[in-house]
């Protein structure tokens, strides 16, 4: 298992042998114990939604439907109109250059898919993952509606959510290549 090459292969100066054109594997330096599974078998723990909509589930919802979910699940902490409460972020309104700066879903978040991803995996904070996919679509629509981003009767689903135009979509400077 420990070949001489491996022992000399420091983490700091790791050379990616053979990760070339195909981007495929090199001679394995581990014991190869991973159990093969299908993407379907991972679905139960995979909640990742990409900005292009990859990972969004079936279902749909409107802001009109989402008001009841919001009032029951979110308003106590985030405020009746998404204005936030002490220590809990506001969801609507805000400005990035005024005084005071207020960064919200409406003023700051670049992707509507992020809201779905986050609510589904982490909200409400006292019972994360307790909302159905339909409820998540509904409450996402409602939160976006609080900032006037979608109409009250707009239907959000896996096709339409990635197309929602967030006001600050172009507000970010990607530094990921400055390493």
């Amino acid at each position: 298992m420990f070949t001489p090459d491996l022992r000399a292969w420091s983490m700091a100066g790791l050379t990616v042998l053979g990760l070339g054109v195909a981007g495929l594997s090199v001679a394995a330096d581990g014991p190869g114990l991973g159990m093969p599974v299908t993407a379907e078998q991972l679905a139960g723990i995979d909640l990742i939604v990409l900005p292009d909509g990859t990972g969004l589930p079936a279902g749909s919802g409107t802001a009109a439907q989402g008001k009841a979910v919001y009032d029951a699940q979110c308003a106590a902490c985030h405020g009746a109109q998404g204005e936030g409460t002490q220590g809990v972020p506001a969801l609507a309104g805000g400005t990035l250059t005024g005084t005071p700066v207020l960064m919200t879903v409406g003023s700051y978040w670049p992707h509507a898919t992020t809201l779905f991803d986050y609510v589904r995996r982490a909200m409400p904070s006292t019972a994360p993952k307790s909302l159905s996919d339909t409820e998540v679509y509904q409450v996402v629509a409602y939160v976006l509606h609080l900032s006037g981003i979608v109409a009250e009767d707009a239907v959000l689903d896996r096709a339409s959510l990635p197309l929602v135009q967030m006001p600050n979509r172009d507000g970010f400077i990607d530094r990921s290549q400055e390493q």
Binding site: L24, P36, V37
Partner: protein, 429 residues
């Protein structure tokens, strides 16, 4: 007291910068011991009582134990932890008491914490790590599986992107170095290279990012570029020799050397190769740096070149005039620390500090410099330079770069004021 300390001048002290900074050469053989001994002779010989055998030398002590604890007399050395959050159960942070520690290694019980939905109580026998997305063959690993893989150890710092955010606030808080800068720790981390597991799964050519989520209540996620993931990222299983602590992600966490702590996803359970970043909440809404014009920097990964004096530091007091050691920590997410300078006059003059031991890349580095304090007010500062040539900026330069609302990636120079009475306080200077 100052009368006695004036005797130290009998040995020539090499002053190298204003307000009493002495040469680091005094720590390298140009000893101060002679000066100290002269003072000691004149005081102790006359005034000290005779030493007596203490009680604990007259009776057998406690026997061995299965898992050790600090001395009961060291019980005050604790993390700086706030009360529980009413709105985010388990959320919040605790800080490493940097002012109470020495060297560069943070004891596991004192490593800082930052949780977004509390610490899950994970049974390693039931935990799984899955690798999926743009791979030839999705795979699942158990904890036992990973323990069988080749491992490597590295001493690495971990710093929260929000560390020192309080130092960007409008008024200088009356707090300690741990309270201000304690979202910073350093440990020897041991684990399995992520590249090994990715090679086993077979990364597809279109993959450019690695997205990861944890098994905590928030299933917190982050994205990192694939090239970094293949370069030096690993799955940490051990921390300072023992299995990583629950608050650090037991049984396993991602460890991304040099980068903002939040990307080192704890309780790691899913790694998914993708052709784009997921833009998780914690890489859009949070952990992005707002600029004055309302634009924001996203994916600012390496932590900045930085240093802070840990002693003397905020809320400490100098009880005597004479020689004190100024010491602190320096680090950079872009390499090793090449140089640390210290000022005792608010940045007007600087002296090179001694780097204590080896300066390791992406690890904390301890620096030291002797200082002759003769009772004058002083402002102590430190300034780090890394091996890439990056120099720690002043607080003003840092603040002018960002929106006043930004609290991330603060690496401005810290100032500690020393009053004529010896009280040390956090100041903006």
């Amino acid at each position: 007291m100052s009368e006695n300390n004036k005797n130290t001048h009998a040995i020539p002290l090499e002053r190298v910068a204003g307000n009493g900074l002495l040469s680091r050469r005094h720590l390298l053989g140009l000893s101060l011991a002679g000066a100290g001994a002269m003072v000691a002779d004149s005081v102790l010989a006359a005034d000290a009582p005779a030493l007596t055998m203490p009680d604990w030398s007259r009776t057998p002590g406690r026997g061995p134990s299965e898992y050790g604890n600090p001395s009961s007399f060291a019980g005050h050395i604790k993390r700086l932890a706030p009360g529980p959050s009413a709105t985010l159960p388990g959320g919040g942070a605790s800080r490493t008491p940097l002012h109470l520690l020495q060297g560069i290694i943070t004891p596991n019980s004192l490593h800082f914490e930052r949780h977004h939905a509390g610490i899950p109580d994970i049974d390693p026998a039931r935990h799984r790590l899955a690798i999926g997305g743009l791979v030839r063959q999705p795979l699942v690993f158990s904890y036992e599986d990973l323990l069988a893989y080749p491992m490597e150890s590295r001493i690495l710092f971990l710093e929260c992107s929000g560390n020192s955010g309080g130092a960007a606030g409008p008024t200088a808080a009356d707090t300690s170095v741990g309270g201000l800068h304690g979202l910073l720790s350093c440990a020897e981390w041991t684990g399995v290279r992520l590249s090994t597991l990715l090679e086993e799964a077979g990364v597809l050519p279109e993959a450019t990012w690695v997205t990861s989520t944890g098994a905590d209540g928030a299933s917190m996620g982050r994205s990192i570029p694939l090239d970094k993931a293949l370069r030096d990222v690993f799955i940490a299983l051990y921390q300072n020799g023992e299995p990583i602590r629950p608050e650090q992600g037991y049984p396993m966490r991602l460890f991304v050397p040099g980068w903002e702590g939040n990307v080192s996803v704890k309780w790691l359970s899913l790694i998914k190769l993708a052709s784009m970043p997921a833009n998780f909440k914690d890489e859009t809404s949070r952990y992005t740096e707002l600029l004055p014009d309302g634009k924001a920097l996203q994916f600012t990964f390496p932590m900045g070149t930085k240093s802070v004096i840990t002693s003397p530091s905020g809320q400490m007091a100098l009880r005597r005039q004479g020689i004190h050691e100024i010491t602190g920590l320096a680090w950079s997410g872009r390499g090793a620390i090449r140089r640390v300078e210290v000022s005792a006059d608010g940045g007007r003059t600087w002296a090179d500090a001694l780097i204590d031991g080896e300066s390791r890349p992406l690890a904390l580095t301890r620096f030291r410099l002797p200082w002759l304090w003769e009772g004058a007010p002083a402002v102590l500062q430190s300034r780090a330079t890394d091996t890439a040539g990056n120099v720690q900026p002043t607080r003003d330069v840092f603040l002018n770069t960002y929106s006043p609302a930004n609290r991330y990636h603060f690496n401005g120079i810290q100032s500690w004021a020393v009053s004529a009475q010896g009280e040390v306080t956090n100041v903006y200077a």
